[in-house]
Symmetry: C2
Subunit: 490 residues, 2 copies
Amino acid sequence: MGSRSVIGRQIADYRAEHEHEILAEFCELLRHRNVATNRQDIASNAEAVSDALRRRGFDVQLLDDGSDCPPCVLGELTVPGATRTVVFYAHYDGQPADQPGWTTDPWTPTVRSGSTAAGAADVDWQQARTVDPEWRIYARSASDDKAPVQAMLSALDALRCTGNAPIVNIKVLYEGEEEQGSPHLSGILSRHREAIAGDLFVLSDGPQHPSGRFQLFFGVRGMTGLELTVYGPTRPLHSGHFGNWAPNPAIMLVHLLAALRDDDGAVLIPGFTADVRDLTGAERAALTALPGTDRAIAAELALGRTEGQDSLAASISRPALNLRGIEVGAVGERAANTIDTRARASIDFRLVPDQTPDRIRDCTERYLADLGWTVVAADPDTATLAAHPRLVKAEWQSGYPAYRAGFDSPPVCALIESVTRAIGVEPLLVPMLGGSLPLHTIAATLAMPVVGMPIANYDNNQHGANENLRIGNLWAAIDLYAQLLVDLSW
Amino acid sequence: MGSRSVIGRQIADYRAEHEHEILAEFCELLRHRNVATNRQDIASNAEAVSDALRRRGFDVQLLDDGSDCPPCVLGELTVPGATRTVVFYAHYDGQPADQPGWTTDPWTPTVRSGSTAAGAADVDWQQARTVDPEWRIYARSASDDKAPVQAMLSALDALRCTGNAPIVNIKVLYEGEEEQGSPHLSGILSRHREAIAGDLFVLSDGPQHPSGRFQLFFGVRGMTGLELTVYGPTRPLHSGHFGNWAPNPAIMLVHLLAALRDDDGAVLIPGFTADVRDLTGAERAALTALPGTDRAIAAELALGRTEGQDSLAASISRPALNLRGIEVGAVGERAANTIDTRARASIDFRLVPDQTPDRIRDCTERYLADLGWTVVAADPDTATLAAHPRLVKAEWQSGYPAYRAGFDSPPVCALIESVTRAIGVEPLLVPMLGGSLPLHTIAATLAMPVVGMPIANYDNNQHGANENLRIGNLWAAIDLYAQLLVDLSW
């Protein structure tokens, strides 16, 4: 602990002496437009990141899945004598930046004295003697997700300049298509699993906890999507002339959906929770220990109740069926006294370990059959319509399972302990985020645990206008990466 | 019966000798554009109809409700010694005619050898020696609803030329705004109830029975409309981050709607049927006697089942709750993993005697309250949202009760018997149509029974392109009106 503290001070001193230099390099990186649908922009980013890594001694490869997809940049820095390899993931592509409301150009990084929302003014940081950690850099991808890239580069500079050497082999895997839904990531990982091989996958993306405290997350929910279509008469009918006799697909769909879940979130599909792996005692304790922000969020959203009795954190640790939308007939001014020809609903399922999309599909379709529905996969012809009293088309969207690393494996334990030493306080441990990422695929393909270590401020406006990174968060991330690299061992 | 048959033959002979003259007058009437939103067009129609009535000896007034609305044309023909007055209703306005698909100009009446849909060709009827009753006149309002106007005019001509006199006082009430929803009719009736006073109200509008048989109808269902809005969070939420915790208004609405009716048409609102007046034995017998077209309709619509076990005719004699539409979130390509801020549904209630919109509103809102909903009439503010776990906005549309005249009153009995004598066969007796018209208001305001006596062919394309009247139906209506006027007594 003693020597780590010494190194910690050395890192902090280095960083304080090189703030302008670090910010200048980061701003240069942020000037590269990086929407993944523009292949030229993506190539320019991949090249800039590769060059920056090579300058730090990395061996760099651009990985694809065999197609002409935006590449993953894989950098490898081998440390003599090291027996463990840590893979640090981030992504260099960003969301489109055509939202209204950007105060300054999203591709011209601008430093302001705080949050634009709070009226902060532009700062001429290049002329300032010191940089206030409360200042923020405004640019697309400042937080999501180039900050971890810059933090790693600067952390390595800090170690080198202070005469400290990493004790683990370092790989960085910087994806170029995350904001497009990572359509090629799985193929890239499969194709290059040897090159990416390691012992621990640390993913830096997304924001810190709403409370402002540092968090690690150890999983995400999986997901699958379902589009349902229920059929009525082959042409719209006058409700006066045919109501009570011709089946109304709107009300049929209502009863189908009501049978799927109650309005407190409980899913009523038999077998839906059969594969659910319970949280461990440690995971339940970690959930309980999370700071309670539920009341503030409920007040902000004017919620008159919540679904069920659990906290938000506990609620999103359970599987869920969310009704995304219903489309049938019309309401208000456009409503007609009509029985429509079909009714549609869209559902997203959020899965937890060890549920799988296939098993969810099976138990859902079996349940619909038990309820008297004939389930088809394509629009029926009139003969099929006429032959079945209750016909529903079920279109399943490809999905993926959930992932939960747990807290117990040696590399995960080591990471938790090392982060605790680095930041001086135990981080919040979030067993699983409510949202979905293909972490299960990563962990299964690469055969190593995946842990999320987000570094951005919670109010970073990711995906929106005025995306920003609090500069203090960049400093903290540099300090953290550097200290992990000289401390992490198991 | 003997003298009626003699008169019947005289009428038929007159009509056969004057076919061209009758058609010429009808075509002239059909050349007047008659969409009620164009006040000049409406005035020209009202004047043409008034002139035609005055030429037959009617006293004519244009009735309004005190506002500058399209007038009702009231014509009165008093018969010396007559003790009964029959009011014949039709409307001289028409639907807009801007639909695609008109084969010839909707305002240039064209005679064809049959149905355009069956490929019939234009006929030069003015040069033809005789007119085939299967020919059809194509024009907007040929069937809906200028045919009864022409039939009455020609029936009176036939009586006069054959030396026969009506035995009832005749009033005709021709509305000018029916296709706009009759917004001023109630006011006009109230204001002029003395002028319109009579003993029996015979309404000729709409088509004959799908079987092709002549029908009388003795009522219509009433209606009222309800727009429901259920509230979720004040901004759309990520279903992964908030699902299972923030209430989803889509699923809340689904459960609300599922509680209102089952998918076999049964309304689950306590008290909903409390005011329902049962069909009489004669009405039930009349329903049973209606020709069965259910199987053909179900096959045409590819229905895999019907709601409940009743026939179509019996089903639409019961009250109904029809779900017109649902609007929340999105489906298919546009679906997002979101919890929406609100969900809307639109409902039309079809009422039967003696249900009233007010009582339906009361029992529905009481039921919603019993289910745990707080019912509001306007969008709630955030304090109201936060204070109530289940909040629904209920917006009721003005409606009106159902009407069923029954078969028993003396004028109704007399009409049924007189029609039977005129057409030589008992007409179909439909206790109540499934659709809705404000007949209850007419009957209550004018204190006389209302009976529907449609004359148009079933396949007349009313409201659509290529609206038409089968010429044989016009001849039959002339014969029928003339015979009723010399026969109807009680």
